[in-house]
């Protein structure tokens, strides 16, 4: 039995301790916002926050998250109103949308660590997330816009 807290809720998980957190979240807990894209930490579709840090849930074993705090896209904000989510809506970033849970979770950590990123900072911080639809130009723009929202004391979290 592994105890984990996901989006503030405690779960006791009876599963193979080697099962990646991704499949625990999706198939056992039933939160499907976190996506499977590659399974080998290449694409970033599965990024969640583990104790506040962005991790690839597809290569994070269940045993590693015992008694720790996980936040998924569903738990990033109560009303889709984290500055990054607001900016993603404002700039109309997603196309197919599949990679954007991971993009948003990566961007949220980037902005917390660097509230005023320039384009090069954004490229470096977001290079772990693949978008096949090619929304990168809008991702850059939305991160700048979210940074500005944070500076103005918007709905920052």
């Amino acid at each position: 039995m592994t105890n984990i807290t996901v989006n503030g809720k405690q779960h006791q998980i009876d599963a193979d301790p080697n099962m990646p957190l991704l499949w625990v979240i999706r198939d056992i807990i039933g939160l499907t916002g976190t996506k499977y894209g590659c399974g080998v930490a290449q694409c970033g579709a599965c990024v969640v926050h583990l104790n506040g840090e962005a991790v690839r849930s597809c290569v994070t074993k269940l045993s590693r998250v015992q008694a720790q705090q996980v936040v998924t896209i569903e738990g990033l904000s109560a009303n889709n109103d984290h500055p990054v989510q607001l900016a993603w809506n404002e700039e109309q970033v997603p196309q197919c949308g599949y990679c954007h849970s991971g993009q948003i979770m990566s961007a949220a950590v980037l902005l917390r660590e660097n509230p005023n990123p320039n384009d090069a900072d954004i490229d470096a911080g977001m290079a772990g997330n693949i978008c096949r639809c090619g929304t990168y130009q809008r991702i850059r723009k939305a991160i700048h816009s979210a940074a500005e929202m944070q500076r103005k004391g918007g709905a920052s979290k």
Binding site: D16, C43, N89, Q92, P94, C96, G97, Y98, G134, I139
Partner: protein
């Protein structure tokens, strides 16, 4: 989401455009949150259908159905945006639902060929207007006033003289009993409130909080998960397998052989079914399998291009088009060029790997998944399982990318085969490695282009292509040429280059092929437009001025004016390389200008791309911009980052560590301009892709003098 959360509504189908019948349907919302809310809602208003696209409940809530797949290209927004315009409702006040696959009701639902808007906008405008007129007629009857004194606005019918109003919900029952008007007056373009505006997509909020339901996210009670070990050599057979160890893996329920349809042949595989995706994957790893690879060619990439190149030297091929006598002119010309362009095989690699849910029951077979072509799936499944259409139900979820791969039937077929065997709902999940190694792929094609210049004029053009033909896989006779070899080429050239021939040299391999975003134009465009640039230089002319001589129609001239103006084509500075290309596919013409420079570290940088799109009538300019930005990035990946290669019949790439995707640091600045005119609507999702590679290689030539004729190439090595 579970089925118990799905809102079950009785739809009373009344007289609409498609006739009268009682209709009971189950539609699932696109949004998990909404599904829960809908399920918890004990008291529901009655939903009444005015036509297949428009349902209104008695509280006035309007539901508009999107009959096409949503894979990022925006049909979920643009179909309702069209209907809502004439129906006179605000987009933010409506529900949007995916229609089920139903050819009788919705006509062609195959979401490909950039066809959603161009193929249905005139009908959608009429459907919206016709529903509006029925509501106005119902209001006029209630008030006993002439319909001409009433008008519709924001979900209400208003009586102009008295300012009395009804909301649509108060009218829908009466309206549904009326016949749909035969003729409706449609708005003129300046009267549009929604169409032509960059309205925010209704699916964006669902895609920023994890609530959008993609195929992989759909769940049913009692659903099991399956993965399939398929022969790693394309088209090989299964000799034997031992499931003893696999069945010992905790969670694994069943292991069995399946044969999945791939065009007209079958792919052997061993399915592992378990209670979680992970357990199924672990069971699969424990399988012991012996494959039978005899009788299949173990092809390699080097052989493919060697054979194509030999064919281009020795064969004339099957004629696709011939006018005048290019051969004689080529023989006698003093100034001529004879070159070969090579393009690679590509994987679609949508971010959502292939997956599908099926539930095979005694009285029906129901499918849920990321499906681009619901009626093709329905046709195929009906044939395979010998079931009538009414027993095969196809539900579309959001697609995490499609690019043509999800307009194919193999993965739904697998889900159905496995569910039939287990008797439970099953989700089959392809791993990224399955998705990348199994195809079908975009075919790699080689082109030989020959051209002659006389007195500065392009007098003769001969193109031959050697590459696999998608349509052969679908049963087209092998004696017929692949007419798609002319896709991407601009029709006005046929008038201005009088001596011209295009031929297809049949070429076969065991590698299955299917359409990939922009289909043949994605490779043809590189050959046609690279050659146009090369011929301009041979004639000693600027590539844009050269094109102006051969593209004389007003639309093309205006497009080129805009390209020149936006990019500053004639004002380039020292150290800047400029290149351009113009292609047409799916009734839309796109011209692109690429600017490159060499950075201080010696590497080539793509500094900016200007794209000008002429797609005629359009719905949402912001979606068009997004589609062109994305098409350019996808073209950049295919030109400079990745290709599928084969060795001994095996695909060499397995995942994103060796099929390298462009990332955010590879994204150039892209500026898109959409032309305004009153021409018929053209496609949007694909036509932005083909011009990029030839414009890029021309820009590199302009900067460095180095001509690139083989894709992909590495930007860092130029």
């Amino acid at each position: 989401m579970s089925v118990s959360n799905i809102s079950r509504r009785n739809f009373l189908r009344a007289a609409g455009l498609t006739g009268t019948a009682l209709f009971v349907g189950l539609y699932f919302p696109a949004n998990a949150e909404e599904a829960k809310v809908a399920g918890a809602d004990a008291v529901e208003a009655t939903d009444i259908e005015l036509n297949a696209w428009v349902h209104i409940d008695t509280d006035g809530k309007v539901t508009i159905f999107s009959h096409r797949a949503e894979m990022g290209q925006g049909a979920y927004q643009s179909v309702p945006q069209i209907v809502a315009e004439e129906l006179e409702v605000n987009l933010e006040d409506i529900n949007i639902r995916f229609a089920q696959g139903d050819r009788q009701k919705y006509g062609n639902q195959v979401t490909g060929g950039s066809s959603t808007i161009r193929g249905s906008y005139k009908n959608l405008l009429k459907l919206g207007a016709s529903a509006r007129e029925m509501l106005i007629a119902a209001a006029a009857a209630k008030w006993t006033v002439p319909a001409s004194e009433c008008y519709a606005e924001a979900g209400h019918v208003i009586h102009r003289p008295s300012a009395k109003k009804f909301h649509y919900g108060e009218l829908v029952e009466a309206a549904s009993k009326l016949s749909a008007p035969k003729d409706v007056v449609l708005k003129k373009r300046p009267e549009y409130k929604l169409i032509g505006k960059p309205l925010k997509r209704q699916d964006t909020p669902l895609k920023t909080n994890g609530s959008a339901v993609f195929g992989l996210d759909f769940k049913l009670p009692g659903m099991l998960y399956a993965v399939v070990e398929r022969n790693p050599r394309l088209r090989g057979k299964l000799k034997s397998f031992d499931a003893t160890a696999a069945l010992k893996v905790p969670g694994v329920k069943k292991v069995f052989k399946i044969q999945t349809g791939v065009f007209q042949t079958f792919r052997d595989g061993v399915a592992v079914v378990a209670d979680s995706t992970w357990s199924a994957m672990q069971g699969r790893k424990a399988l012991i399998i012996e494959w039978d690879d005899s009788g299949f060619e173990h092809i390699s990439t080097d052989e493919i291009y060697h054979r194509q190149s030999e064919l281009l030297k020795t064969e004339e091929g099957l004629s696709v088009r011939k006018q005048g006598d290019p051969d004689t002119l080529l023989n006698s010309a003093a100034q001529k060029l004879d070159v070969i362009y090579e393009t690679p095989y590509q994987s679609h690699s949508a971010m959502e790997p292939l997956n599908c849910i099926a539930y095979y029951q005694p009285d029906k077979l129901e499918i849920w998944g990321p499906i681009q072509a619901p009626e093709w799936v329905q046709d195929f499944i009906c044939t395979q399982f010998k079931l009538p259409r009414e027993k095969v139900v196809i539900n579309m979820t959001f697609l995490g990318g499609g690019f043509g791969r999800k307009a194919f039937m193999d993965y739904p077929h697998e889900a159905c085969l496995i569910s039939k065997e287990t008797g439970t709902p099953v989700q089959v999940v392809w791993t990224r490695e399955d998705d990348m190694t199994q195809g079908p792929y975009r075919a790699g094609i080689s082109y030989r282009c020959q051209g002659a210049i006389k007195d500065g004029q392009f007098i003769a053009f001969k193109l031959k292509a050697a590459g696999q033909n998608i349509y052969h896989w679908m049963g087209a006779p092998k004696t017929q040429p692949n007419r798609s070899i002319s896709e991407g080429f601009l029709a006005p050239y046929y008038k201005s280059i009088k001596d011209l021939s295009i031929a297809d040299i049949p070429f076969e391999t065991p590698i299955p092929n299917v359409w990939w975003r922009s289909v043949y134009a994605s490779t043809n465009g590189f050959a046609y437009e690279s050659f146009m640039n090369e011929m301009a230089h041979l004639a000693g002319k600027d590539p844009l001025d050269f094109r102006r001589e051969y593209l004389k129609e007003e639309r093309e001239q205006k497009l080129m004016d805009k390209m020149e103006e936006l990019s500053g084509w004639k004002n380039r500075k020292k150290g800047e390389g400029f290149g351009l290309a113009i292609t047409e596919c799916f009734s839309t013409t796109v011209g692109q200008v690429v600017k490159v420079s060499r950075k201080s570290d010696g590497k080539i940088s793509i500094d900016k791309v200007w794209a000008v799109m002429d797609c005629g009538w359009y719905v949402n300019p912001d979606i068009i911009h997004a589609q062109v930005e994305g098409s350019i990035l996808m073209a950049l990946g295919a030109a400079t980052k990745h290709e599928i290669t084969f060795k001994d019949g095996l695909v060499e790439q397995r995942n994103f560590y060796n099929y390298i995707m462009p990332r955010i640091n590879d994204m150039p600045e892209v500026a898109v301009h959409v032309m305004d005119n009153d021409e018929n609507a053209g496609g949007v999702g694909e036509p932005g892709l083909p011009p990029f590679a030839p414009a890029l290689t021309e820009a590199i030539f302009d900067l460095t003098g180095k001509r690139i004729r083989k894709l992909p190439f590495k930007l860092d090595e130029v």
